[in-house]
């Protein structure tokens, strides 16, 4: 199974004390930002700081993703040239709108990997969909690079582009979310959700996480460590789900050994997709217990 990405903790790339502690909060990924949280006057120093953090801090098994500046700015080339040689796990490309943009980033990364003797394809990509145009082209974007491991949605920018206001129910980005999940699943990669901006409203966060889990997202960006645990709790299978899955998998195994076709568990007919889902729940549960 692909790696867990229930929570991705955003950190500004220009604050050393936050970079040094980024990995201690138990998020599945950290998301070091060179884009919106770094002021224009600090773009170059943040880049150098993040490179040094990658070179010197042992982040352990956690997935380290860097959000570079958008392709339409002058900064992204320098971002990649400075960062890629330090081998982050992935690059998040903000405001992705076309497959060509993704290919452009892919090509530049390939070049840098080669120059630095990094195994080809080591650095993964996560295009971020934040505009109507991006949503329109989302299938092409998802399939634009072999490096793609996830599509992500930027709710705030998308709402701005759509000319609407963000609401608690998030109806305004419902369609975009669904389209992104479809495109991601079609390309066999993860779909990752946007931030929940009210850090004090943990109940609201839980509610939204339940919604996006139902839609098919694998995780959610977070902006405060307190948001990590509630999100994990939503994504982690419950004891009931695990027990149910064990029953289904065992029954399927028994049926296979006996050469039976259809089986029933708790009076419900169990067919192959249900068994596959049960197996997924069990391997997910196993990975979350590590």
């Amino acid at each position: 199974m692909s790696r867990l990405r229930r929570s991705m903790l955003y950190l500004p790339g220009n604050i050393p004390s936050m970079l040094q502690d980024a990995h201690i909060y138990g998020s599945d990924s950290i998301l070091i930002d060179l884009e919106d949280s770094v002021p224009l006057s600090e773009k170059d120093s943040a880049r150098i700081l993040v490179k040094n953090a990658l070179d010197n801090i042992d982040y352990g098994d956690i997935e380290v993703t860097i959000r570079i500046n958008p392709i339409h700015t002058d900064f992204y080339v320098d971002d990649l040239k400075t960062i890629v040689a330090s081998k982050p796990d992935a690059i998040r490309i903000p405001k992705s709108e076309t497959a060509e943009q993704i290919k452009k980033v892919d090509d530049l990364i390939s070049k840098i990997e080669k120059e630095n003797n990094i195994e080809a394809g080591y650095v993964k990509l996560m295009p971020m969909i934040e505009t109507a145009k991006g949503v329109k082209n989302v299938h092409d974007i998802a399939e634009a690079s072999m490096r793609n491991v996830a599509l992500t949605i930027g709710g705030e920018d998308l709402a701005t582009d759509l000319g609407v206001t963000r609401t608690k129910g998030s109806e305004e980005i419902f369609t975009a979310r669904s389209l992104i999940v479809m495109a991601a699943k079609a390309a066999d990669i993860d779909a990752l959700d946007t931030i929940y901006s009210n850090v004090k409203d943990i109940e609201g966060l839980k509610k939204e996480t339940k919604l996006i889990k139902k839609l098919g997202f694998s995780g959610k960006a977070v902006i405060h460590p307190n948001q990590i645990k509630p999100i994990h709790n939503v994504f982690n299978p419950t004891e009931k789900e695990i027990n149910e899955a064990i029953k289904i998998v065992n029954a399927a195994k028994e049926a296979e050994e006996k050469g039976l076709g259809a089986i029933t568990v708790n009076d419900k007919m169990i067919d192959y997709p249900i068994v596959e889902r049960a197996q997924k729940i069990l391997s997910y549960a196993e990975s979350t217990s590590k």
Binding site: Q20, D21, I24, Y25, G26, N56, I57, D58, V199, K200, H224, P225, N226
Partner: protein
């Protein structure tokens, strides 16, 4: 009768009631004849109210005396500065200032009067701010004596710290001298440090801005210990005495939340976490967060504790009121909730510093503790802890109850960030030892948990009953130094500016003048 007395070799005097009484009889010699129900030692005085200036005249303060104060008002204390200034005006010199601790609010006055020769020596638990800096730079002619709270009570009760006059800031008093800490505009709750001084000082004066009708409702210090009561306009700054509402968890720094959750898990997995366990914590955000996590665990596991101790806050009170602990023993109350509770809840008991931690009495309560959660400025590879001097070697902390509770408890847990600013918390050797590593069991940081090698039982419980990883302290040190690099060592002069007493009065370390 007379014959018998004479046979015993005694002789007879007439007392004031014209009774024939012996001067001596059998082995009883130097008998005093009754000469009236009042004499110089027995004065009926149920109105001890006296003016501020008058009391200072009457106390007959002389050069070289030892005077004491309590620090229950923390940064809201007014009395210490006021008294020192007055004594300076009276030309008094060479005093030994022996408060239970000193806070930032005292810095300017104390520095000025050390320079003037009014104060010659200081005995305290802590030193902060400008005063700490000045002393570390050689302000005093004689080293400051640093004592733990239990050590101070022990020194007072065994006479090593001999207090001439205890000046007690009293939130409320009656004219007979009963003092309450939990009532009045400057209510601070328990008066646990002041109570020891009142019991042992040659003279005790209570200063208050809240005189009430006799008797005060709840008595922290009884009238039998108080010589005079002085009414003043204002005794403290209430806004700086007891903090308001407890901090909400969302305001707790996320790093501290991580540490708190680890501590709660360690306690949950410990063999000492069982019915009737006891706990002491401080009032910092890690402690408060740990308490609130433990509340859930105790309810879930249906475990009720015996008692809570420490700097008491609303968080502790919440556990008491929910029936999760049977008692609170309170030497020092930290917020409004604790003050209100001590006033109304019979299960919330005020104790003094000797009850709490004096190693020489027959049963300080620290010895009944299962768990204590303590902080550290530095900890070293031998688990020695420094809570007194900063990474620059300057005095900026307090011994407090650290060594007392670490010794008494079954499990002492140090909570600290692994990095402060740019400085690593784990050092090869701490700048100043306050608590010996032999009494420290666990270090919990956001980056890892270390267990003292002598506590195999704790390691076993953590491995078996929690999902937490243990790391050797030298490995954690290396991990931290991979980010910070090792700290440069601090350079000191030879001059000793502080003597650090262990709780039994022996010298565990010294503080030297910084270069």
């Amino acid at each position: 009768m007379q014959k018998a007395l004479q046979n015993n070799g005694g002789f007879i005097l007439k007392n004031i009631l014209d009774r024939d009484v012996p001067k001596k009889v059998s082995s009883y010699t130097n008998l005093e004849p009754y000469y009236g129900s009042s004499n110089k030692d027995i004065i009926k005085n149920n109105d001890k109210l006296i003016d501020f200036e008058e009391v200072l005249d009457k106390l007959d303060i002389k050069d070289g005396m030892t005077i004491s104060f309590h620090h229950h008002f923390r940064e809201g204390d007014i009395l210490l500065n006021k008294i020192i200034k007055n004594l300076a005006e009276r030309g008094i010199k060479d005093l030994t200032l022996a408060p239970s601790s000193l806070t930032n609010v005292h810095s300017d006055t104390v520095i000025e009067n050390v320079k003037k020769g009014v104060i010659k020596k200081i005995h305290t638990s802590g030193l902060r701010g400008k005063l700490g800096e000045e002393i570390s730079n050689g302000l005093m002619g004689e080293p400051v004596i640093i004592r733990s709270h239990g050590g101070r009570a022990g020194a007072i009760e065994t006479g090593r710290l001999d207090i001439d006059i205890a000046f007690i800031a009293a939130p409320t008093a009656d004219i007979a001298g009963n003092v309450s800490g939990a009532e009045g505009p400057s209510a601070c709750g328990a008066l646990g440090y002041a109570a020891v001084d009142a019991r042992n000082a040659k003279k005790t004066v209570a200063f208050t801005d809240n005189i009430v009708d006799f008797p005060v409702k709840s008595i922290s210090i009884p009238q039998r210990l108080v010589d005079y009561v002085v009414e003043v306009n204002q005794i403290g700054d209430p806004s700086k005495i007891a903090k308001g509402a407890l901090r909400k968890s969302v305001d707790t720094p996320p790093k501290n939340m991580i540490v708190a959750s680890k501590v709660a898990e360690i306690i949950r997995g410990s063999r000492y976490f069982k019915e009737d366990f006891s706990l002491q914590t401080g009032s910092g955000s890690i402690s408060l967060e740990t308490i609130s996590l433990l509340k859930k665990i105790m309810i879930e596991k249906e475990i009720t504790g015996s008692f809570l101790m420490g700097g008491i806050t609303s968080g502790h009170v919440d556990l008491l009121e929910n029936g999760l602990f049977k008692k609170i023993f309170d030497t020092q109350s930290f917020d409004i909730g604790a003050v209100e509770s001590i006033n109304k809840n019979k299960l919330h008991l005020e104790i003094d510093a000797s009850d709490y931690a004096n190693p020489f009495n027959k049963g300080p309560l620290v010895n009944n503790l299962d768990f204590v959660i303590l902080s550290a400025l530095e900890i070293d590879l031998d688990f020695n802890v420094n809570v007194l001097t900063g990474s620059d070697g300057v005095l900026r902390g307090a011994s407090g109850g650290h060594s007392d509770t670490a010794f008494g408890s079954n499990i002492s847990i140090i909570v600290a960030p692994s990095i402060r600013g740019r400085m690593p918390t784990i050092k090869e050797s701490v700048t100043t030892v306050i608590t010996p590593g032999s009494d420290i069991d666990i270090l919990v940081t956001e980056r890892g948990i270390c267990v003292n090698p002598k506590r195999e039982d704790i390691k076993e419980d953590i491995r078996k009953n929690t999902s937490l990883d243990i790391i050797e302290i030298n490995e954690l040190k290396e991990k931290i130094e991979s980010i910070t690099k090792p700290a440069n060592s601090i350079e000191f002069k030879d001059n000793i500016v502080g003597l650090v007493e262990y709780r039994d009065g022996t010298i565990i370390d010294v503080v030297r003048e910084i270069k």
